[in-house]
Symmetry: C3
Subunit: 399 residues, 3 copies
């Protein structure tokens, strides 16, 4: 720095100072991004902070067996999800907070993760996904249909407080954890659930993915049955029927379920299929059995490929290549069978099948517009009807 | 500046680098501001993020017909509003989240706006203001009195989920939208409302504004009457009487209302007036009619002018010119008439008039301190009284 | 640009531009920090913004008199606290928002502070701590045991809406305020509480602190008794017994209480003790008396010293000196006596003593892992038992 700066450079610096104050940091160098949310991280990767969220505005119209009112067409416009999301990292530890703004506020997820060992062994503590099922493990932002399939919903174990060890490399992804299912009113002690999942990727390269997986959950608690809405949400507040089986009176103690997963992604095509089987059992009551499956085929007409996250072994976002966005069409067929021939078990619909046809427009990396047509049939009448149709649309903003 | 930087400047730069890490961005250049909240935007204006909020702490003391307990003076100290506000922008789309921290949390507003056409045509989707009435359309942060007038409250349609097209230039502002009013329990289908507003500004320049407007709302749903508190909130939890008319039994299907707006702002003076007229009607029940008006005159003694936003055709903040803040005095007279001579309609007060005199101290761009005196009279006794007085004070922090 | 920049400068600028956009500010110079939360402040100290939070995940197992179910061991895993915290400053005013994410969301604290006079006179307005008691005034993040002592809980006045004047220098700390206790249903008027606290520090230097203090609270409202859980929280939802005294029927109007505080900190040792005494009284009912005390001794084996904040006259965080973290052991004995010999007063346990032994591992400035063993005895049986044990563990992340 022995030579003088030339005059023009000095002038430029001076004029900059006229309108721009400096922004510095006391610690390691920082990088900031705003993509309508806010992301701040240190260049060395040790510390990070991100504030974002997701908003899903749904319009549903549905008739027949789907509507709880016989012979009428129901409709609604509502927030399917509205969440504020906060993530941060300090060296080996990270946190993840997802808060539901709907329904007067509630914790969706809130957990800490220890990342200090390696990618094959991370520990998460707190309210989190148990990781059971391919469709359930993937984010609600990036499922292909507007709603998850009936079997995924019926066997969804939800977000629970617990401890999970998980890891992944290119070949496999695993997770195993113990979770709070409930507190037993008889003695105030914890009822727990154990859930594990294992996924292999015999093929995983730039153009192709083959995903083979399975999961198991063993749950101690108080269970009254299996059920799922008929392929669509219907209105915001319980205005759609469900296919379900449950006890005439009382609950029992044990629930066990397993699933099998297959996914193949080839360039802009993807195939997904899952099978679920579960049982509720306990002394003094008959078992309730349920099983179901779905198969889904999707094609992104504009040539993009669905992203896939090895860390959770699930599909993720579609990032459009061009300013016109990415267009995807898909079809899904799903089935849930809850028929149990026993006088102590009440049933609604016995078995349901639904066909979902849809189109997704990924307008840019933040916005997604979706439209689905759903046709549902049940084996037995629910409220005097055994089939129904729905049109559902969603505008999603995820920042 | 022809000469080289003197050694001391070089030394200063070097020492700065000793304790200050750099802050950069991966994308377009960014500008950051903190005014006790946080604002981050790209220099090109394409992306933005803002986190702020509003807090209103109110102290009320009130007697006579205002207090639900006859012959007693009520009082309370409480958060009138406490909201966290998040706004962001990514090119043509923006979002706006306002969350109520009070009452165990709820969404106040949450909507997306498409700004990609031009200022005369923007589209907003989500939970939003319908834009009906001058006082109701303006922010609760910048109304002149502590509470909106009785007719503004009686005809307030609230924030609703829907779609609105709106636009503005210097001459006119318009909005038209369709909103979710409720879901009909008889068939689970959406009841909707249509609301429009049109405002002209025949005069709009540096020193003077003339605002002429009107609005209309047609609502399908389930309505039981019209009413408003008597000019003050009273306590936090329903401890103040209301002038109201409602059905003895049951609700009906249709509500329609219109309003007319006049505002004149000349230097530090402003005049505001509105008239509202509405009707609830349906088969098998008598109509309920209501109308009301207010007129308000305000003067900012320190010479500032109330800001006005053409985008919503409503008054906005007062920015003090000096470090002593801006001082405003105002008076407002308002009336709400809900008298309906019918045995199937119950009434409380029949008609109410109130006079509000107040002073606002805009301490700086974030803080506002207000004190209002309110005198109210009703045509008929409510709980044995027909007039009352109140003193209300507010400390507001909006960041 | 006729003259060339020296080659090295050009190279440096070019490489910077390859990956880094600029970040500036329109106002005074800004400093940004992320320590997994986000902190932004101007260099001149006039403006600041901070977003952080605290998460406490507790595991409890407890038996005997502690569990509401006789003869059984209770257990639970839950969020003891999960809060989002927002602080900001604009010249003389600052705000402080703490929001509970648990239990469907609620305001924990939300207040404004005027700092424009000096450190001996600050004014806080809004929902805030009243500052009564040493253990209660300190943050729940930095109490030594997992739960505060029984007398601290029994005499905790909570966070309330009000106005408080407070100040501190090295020698003394004081606070005095008036708060909303409740709204009287008989006339809708405010019931208020007056609370004051005074602390002297005859010794306060690098190696030693002697803290002597006392407080008084006089409360007008509606009170039904005194009580506290038996040294541990038990499960999330009221599954642990309490030592308590209350009226058989009805409430009375006045509560008064005082306390005395002693704390000595010498290098890595600390001693804390408090005594509380209170009375509930009113016409037509007997008084309810209660008193209690605790004494606590702690030693940080790795040599760190507990921080102490003169502004609130309470202990604060432990900052580990080494990467292995700081290790602390402590013991606490506490007692709460609510025995009142009167047929109109119901009692549970009469008097309780508990001994708490624990270890804290301050892993780094964000993470704390704690384990406590608690043994409790009551004078009278509660649900057939008069002693019990508990093991409680906590993982805390405060960013």
């Amino acid at each position: 720095m022995k030579k003088a700066l030339p005059p023009m450079v000095i002038a430029a610096v001076a004029s900059l100072q006229a309108y721009a104050g400096t922004v510095t940091t006391n610690g390691p160098d920082i990088v900031i991004d705003t993509n309508s949310g806010l992301e701040v991280k240190t260049v060395d990767g040790d510390y990070a902070f991100k504030l974002g969220g997701r908003v899903q505005i749904d319009y549903n119209t549905y008739d027949g067996v789907i509507n709880t009112v016989e012979g009428e067409t129901g409709s609604d416009l509502f927030f399917r999800r509205a969440r504020l999301e906060l993530k941060g990292k300090a060296k080996d530890w990270s946190y993840n907070i997802s808060y539901n703004l709907t329904d007067s506020g509630s914790i969706d997820k809130l957990f800490l993760t220890y990342n200090g060992w390696n990618e094959m062994a991370r520990l998460s503590i707190g309210e989190q996904k148990e990781f059971f099922g391919l469709e359930d493990t993937g984010s609600s932002k990036w499922i292909t249909a507007i709603e998850r399939s009936m079997p995924s919903s019926a066997f969804d174990v939800g977000d629970n407080m617990g401890i999970k060890i998980h890891g992944a490399n290119d070949l496999l992804t695993y997770s195993a954890g113990i979770y709070k299912e409930s507190v037993d009113a008889a003695d105030n002690s914890l009822d727990t659930a154990i859930t594990g999942r294992l996924v292999f990727r015999p093929v995983y390269n730039e153009s192709m993915l083959v995903h083979l997986g399975g999961g198991l959950t063993l749950r101690d608690g108080s269970f009254d049955g299996f059920g799922a809405r008929l392929g669509v949400r219907g209105g915001e507040n319980g205005t759609a029927n469900a296919v379900a089986a449950g006890y005439v009176a009382g609950n029992v103690d044990d629930l066990s379920a397993y699933n099998l997963e297959l996914a193949i992604s080839m360039e802009s095509l993807h195939l997904m299929a899952e099978y679920f089987d579960g049982k509720i059992s306990g002394s003094g009551a008959p078992d309730i059995d349920a099983d179901g499956y779905y198969i889904q085929l999707g094609w992104i007409m504009t040539g993009e490929r669905r992203k896939y996250k090895t860390s959770i072994a699930a599909f993720d976002k579609v990032k459009p290549n061009s300013s016109g966005g990415a267009w995807e069409i898909f079809g899904r067929y799903d089935n849930l069978d809850v028929s149990n021939n026993n006088a102590l078990i009440t049933e609604s619909g016995e078995q349901a099948d639904s066909l979902t046809l849809g189109v997704n427009w990924y307008m840019n990396s933040l916005l997604k517009l979706s439209a689905n047509y759903v046709h549902t049939e049940t084996d037995e009448n629910i409220g005097g009807e055994d089939d129904g149709d729905a049109l559902v649309a969603r505008l999603q903003y995820a920042f």
